[in-house]
């Protein structure tokens, strides 16, 4: 489920984090997932023009690639990727009556950058 639009004044097509909630209820998994009810997975999408690559959470490499793209358009633009991720924990029951608490790394996108 996509969620709240981007903050005011931010050019919508530039690289930024898009909110996306994965609901276990929507998947019909609420019968065996005890907690949480779902989680904010989010995703990164948007353009990485040269001006964008001078921002703080863009990599030096993105700056170089954007510069090279300006000189030779055959070099692809820098891309919009997660720069900060966090884990989730899931408490669920399997078919053999075992209750399991397991965590999964890098499931939630917290920040994006070029």
């Amino acid at each position: 489920r996509a969620a709240i639009p981007v903050p005011k004044g931010f050019c919508r097509n530039l690289c930024h984090r898009h909110q996306l909630f994965i609901s276990f209820q929507d998947l019909g998994w609420h019968k065996w997932v005890i907690a949480p009810k779902g989680f904010m997975a989010n995703y990164c999408h948007g353009d990485c023009p040269f001006s964008m690559t001078t921002y703080s959470n863009s990599s030096n490499y993105a700056f170089m690639q954007a510069l090279m793209h300006r000189v030779d358009p055959k070099v692809p633009k820098a891309v919009c990727v997660p720069t900060k991720l966090s884990p989730i924990s899931m408490l669920y029951q399997d078919s053999d009556k075992n209750v399991i608490l397991r965590h999964y790394e890098d499931m939630v996108v917290d920040e994006c950058g070029c």
């Binding site: 998947l27 019909g28 998994w29 019968k31 065996w32 005890i34 907690a35 949480p36 966090s86 884990p87 989730i88 924990s89 899931m90 408490l91 669920y92 029951q93 399997d94 078919s95 053999d96 009556k97 075992n98 209750v99 399991i100 608490l101 397991r102 965590h103 999964y104 790394e105 939630v108 917290d110």
Partner: protein, 234 residues
């Protein structure tokens, strides 16, 4: 296949989560407070953006990235005979350790015995709980299995919450030779000397205890591939 709608692929997500297929439990097992406390603390930490070391379970003081609660699948012994010489309940506790999913090392094996609140108030004042390893499974048919080492014996005064036993020896055994199952022998006795009630009252109370006893084994496993050695911040 042609024309296949891009339905969300449950299967891929389940595989990714380490599950063969979506579990279909007939009814929910009671979830111990400790597991709910852990998952709530993690959700709060995630919501506040705090960094977490998910390879350390601070509520239990052990390293581990997977917690599993295994239900007891054992059976009672001598339920036909009236309790004698103070013995109130004898049970073989059986836990299927091959259900432990995570590769890696067992860092916790904690047995919880919930005797149920009501049964306590009828077995005043003291219970003695004795827990032993079962040495020879084949002897289960007899009234008393061949016992291995006594793990613990403790007097339990008056009503209190579930009893917990840290079975470190079991965790060591599992790490050494991947036991397929764990068999324990549980005996609960009523201290005769201070028991003033008539036998029939004790008998009813022991029957109640048989019905309300709930045993479970909480195990924690640490997968070195997912958890770098002592990555926990000092």
């Amino acid at each position: 296949a042609w024309g296949q709608t891009s339905e969300f692929q449950d299967y891929d997500f389940l595989q990714f989560l380490g599950l063969e297929k979506a579990p279909s439990p007939h009814r929910f097992q009671p979830v111990p407070r400790i597991l709910r406390k852990i998952i709530r603390a993690r959700e709060d930490a995630a919501a506040s953006g705090a960094s977490q070391d998910l390879c350390y379970v601070k509520e239990l003081g052990v390293r581990g990235n997977l917690l599993q609660l295994l239900p007891d699948q054992g059976f009672f012994l001598n339920t036909q005979k009236p309790p004698q010489d103070g013995s109130c309940l004898q049970k073989v506790l059986y836990f299927n350790l091959s259900a432990i999913q995570e590769k890696g090392k067992l860092t916790l094996a904690q047995l919880t015995l919930d005797l149920g609140p009501r049964s306590y108030y009828h077995l005043r004042p003291e219970l003695v709980v004795a827990l032993s390893m079962v040495k020879d499974r084949g002897a289960w048919g007899r009234s008393h299995p061949a016992l291995g080492r006594l793990l613990t014996q403790l007097s339990v005064p008056g009503p209190q919450g579930p009893l917990q036993f840290n079975l470190q020896g079991v965790a060591k055994d599992w790490n050494r030779n991947r036991l397929k199952n764990l068999d324990l022998y549980l005996e609960i006795l009523v201290k005769e000397d201070r028991y003033s009630g008539v036998n029939v009252q004790r008998e009813n109370a022991c029957d109640r205890l048989v019905r309300s006893l709930h045993a479970s084994l909480l195990v924690a496993t640490l997968n070195p591939k997912r958890c770098h050695p002592s990555s926990r911040k000092r």
